[in-house]
Symmetry: C2
Subunit: 444 residues, 2 copies
């Protein structure tokens, strides 16, 4: 029996656990899921004798270290900032570690210790980061082996709603963490490479300056820039890259409407609104508009932001932003918290809603003095509210990598991400069995 | 001999010191100016036997406490965050203290100690804060004593360039701290009261949503909102106020053009630009605009921000924003630092330039069931580059208050600001002798 410890039971537990349970007998696995909330895990495990769910408060050092000590490999699905304690335990008790999160500076510091003890600390093995790395590197490595000189790399990902459940004007619902959606893009300007020059894009331009995207059979999308695309030059070895851009996918028309909230300041999380508890949604909207003795709040908003696009305007109406009867009911709330509350109703998933994960890469390159462009796209649809596309694209790569480490198929020790061929190749191959497949298209 | 210690010799030392030197014999004063840089003070003192300039690094505890111990009253003209050490020394050695800065939370904590020892800690006695408090409270108190119910109070201040030196398209030069001008308005949204409702205005709306202002003989201005106007409700006792707004004055047309920098993100101080040192001004501008294979940078900027106002466009041209030969020459600079550098040449004061301080209050009120409006405005012109309007309006109130405390004309102890009649009345009266006079005008 090899013992797998999964700490943290979140939205992507479904596929992660199902994959391991399905292989448990054949591969002699025993899986322990540990979290404060274990209802979902208990349900997924059912009567399976190869798994258990244990309630764990991760600040409980005795129980946590005992669980880790008894495991052969640890998977941390906790929020990113909580990995480090687990990682230190893994060093101490000499256990491999898998996470789907970005490598933090603190995590990176453990590289030497992990190498010295022969431990594999594999991070960024979810969807984004994760699938994006693996699928991009697979094509980049292949093109380079064929003599291509890569000059353009663009990579977009989005968590969206499946076409069959797409029933609002924004073509969007919260399929993952709503707070991250509301705060997306804040902080320092986005930076990327555009035909050889570094470009900076401020938050208040981010949703105004989008790129269009079309995907066969799925229609029109648009993309806004992620925070820092420049660092991928080194990560992907894109030495002579001229254009390097990573972005987030939304349905066409989303960003210009979202920019209304950015422009008014409704996504700000840095101060609280006075008496937010008793405000109506209409009061909240009016707090960002000047007094006028005859114009309505609707008229004031249209005037201030010069809105003459009826599609955009109807998106705002759909959200109940002007409703005088709905109350915020949040004490000392920031604008971002209030906006999230307003969006939570129209954008919540109903029982039969299915989600969709879209990923798209664009590769521009020269080979034998001619220019080429190849695109690769992936669209994954959710099956149920538990077995979502997001859970699948995060959970399966984590699960496959975990078993691959246990089975000695991934061997190089240290803190790492899945950009080496010997890691991404077998994982991508196995993912195809689950329908996680990229469609490649040579444009010219 | 009464000993006055002035710590910090900045731009407002000229009038502050001149006032005290002029009264030194008659009033038996000996004035010590202490700072790291004492050149200006040395020059202003000349052969006057009633004053001295001493070089002081304020982290030199021995020298600093010795100077404070020997003084009868201390004036701190240091940057606001440096007052607190001086203030604690003043408690310890039982000295009165005068500053022109906002009362910090730390300063407020000394109120009890100051009162227990009978010490006067008078703050916010410059121009803004300072003259604004005194002139507003004088009119508010008078109106209220006449039975007025105040429903509107707006108060604007601006440090500008005198009409005779107004020779650029922005009608603006740096007459005070350029960094503060570049960063103005950042952080949490501005908040104010507008006809009974609290309004929030995000940074990216601040320079778009201005109020027009006309002043007799001086023409057209405009006003953008200051950070927090709400707190003045309590400070000025404006119980039933419906509209409460404080703002900063610029010449008409300035704000819409400044908003170009805000929109692009050029005022951001939170990250550094790569290779800023070798960038040309044109490169810097281009870093905020997308690549285009035929359009010029000028065309890209006009297109992106939809600029069709030629006056605004000419303002941008005037700043050399598109100059490919001028280099930034600042290592690891933030956008805000680079913008300040670009502005520093066209907006620097030349030898004979004179500045201008403008202050304006609007009072709306009801008396005997009829509505009234009274405005009060003050325009002060600088005399030289040393004896500026800014130095006068900051330095003279500080100087007059300092002598008034020494002479026992201000007696109430504690941490305070000049909103009590017994403080503002004699100071405003004396300021009139120096031409600091408000013109009142009943509108209806």
């Amino acid at each position: 029996m090899r013992r797998i410890l999964i700490i943290g039971s979140g939205k992507s537990t479904s596929y992660l656990l199902k994959y391991l349970l399905d292989k448990a007998s054949l591969e002699s696995l025993f899986i322990t899921v540990a979290d404060i909330h274990i209802e979902q895990a208990v349900q997924l495990i059912g009567n399976n004798p190869n798994a258990e769910a244990i309630q764990l408060d991760i600040s409980n050092d005795a129980l946590r270290t005992n669980l880790i000590k008894n495991a052969d490999i640890v998977v941390s699905m906790l929020p990113a900032h909580l990995h480090i304690e687990i990682a230190k335990d893994c060093i101490r008790f000499e256990k491999h570690l898998v996470t789907a999160s970005y490598v933090s500076a603190e995590m990176q510091l453990l590289d030497e210790d992990a190498k010295a003890k022969g431990l594999i600390f594999l991070n960024e093995i979810g969807v984004d980061p994760g699938l994006d790395h693996m699928s991009a590197m697979q094509i980049l490595d292949r093109l380079r082996s064929e003599g291509a000189e890569i000059n353009t790399f663009e990579s977009y990902t989005g968590g969206l709603i499946a076409p069959e459940s797409d029933d609002n004007l924004w073509h969007y619902k919260f399929t993952w963490n709503p707070r991250n959606v509301v705060l997306a893009g804040q902080g320092a300007a986005a930076k990327f490479l555009d035909e050889g020059s570094i470009k900076y894009m401020a938050y208040n331009q981010l949703f105004k300056q989008t790129k269009p995207l079309q995907i066969d059979n799925f229609g029109d999308f648009e993309v806004y820039a992620n925070r820092d695309s420049l660092k991928y030059k080194a990560i992907y070895g894109l030495k002579n890259i001229k254009t390097l851009y990573r972005g987030t996918i939304r349905r066409a028309g989303f960003c210009k409407a979202w920019d209304v909230f950015v422009s008014l300041g409704m996504t700000d999380d840095s101060y609280t609104i006075e008496d937010s508890e008793h405000m109506s949604y209409r009061d909240f909207t009016n707090a960002y508009l000047p007094y006028h003795n005859t114009n309505t709040i609707e008229e004031k908003l249209r005037h201030q932001l010069k809105i003459n696009d009826e599609n955009l305007w109807n998106k705002l109406l759909e959200l109940d932003l002007f409703n005088a009867n709905k109350r915020v009911k949040l004490k000392n709330a920031t604008p971002a918290q209030i906006l999230q509350k307003i969006l939570s109703e129209p954008w919540s998933l109903s029982q039969y809603d299915k989600d969709m994960v879209v990923m798209y890469h664009k590769f521009g390159y020269k080979r034998h003095d001619t220019s080429h462009q190849t695109n690769a796209s992936m669209v994954i649809l959710g099956e149920t509210q538990t077995f979502t596309a997001m859970a699948k694209t995060v959970g399966l790569p984590v699960a496959i990598a975990t078993l691959a480490i246990l089975n000695g198929k991934i061997t190089s020790p240290g803190v790492q991400i899945p950009i080496a061929k010997n890691i991404y190749q077998p994982i991508l191959e196995e993912l195809q069995q689950y329908g996680i497949i990229f469609q490649e298209k040579e444009i010219f």
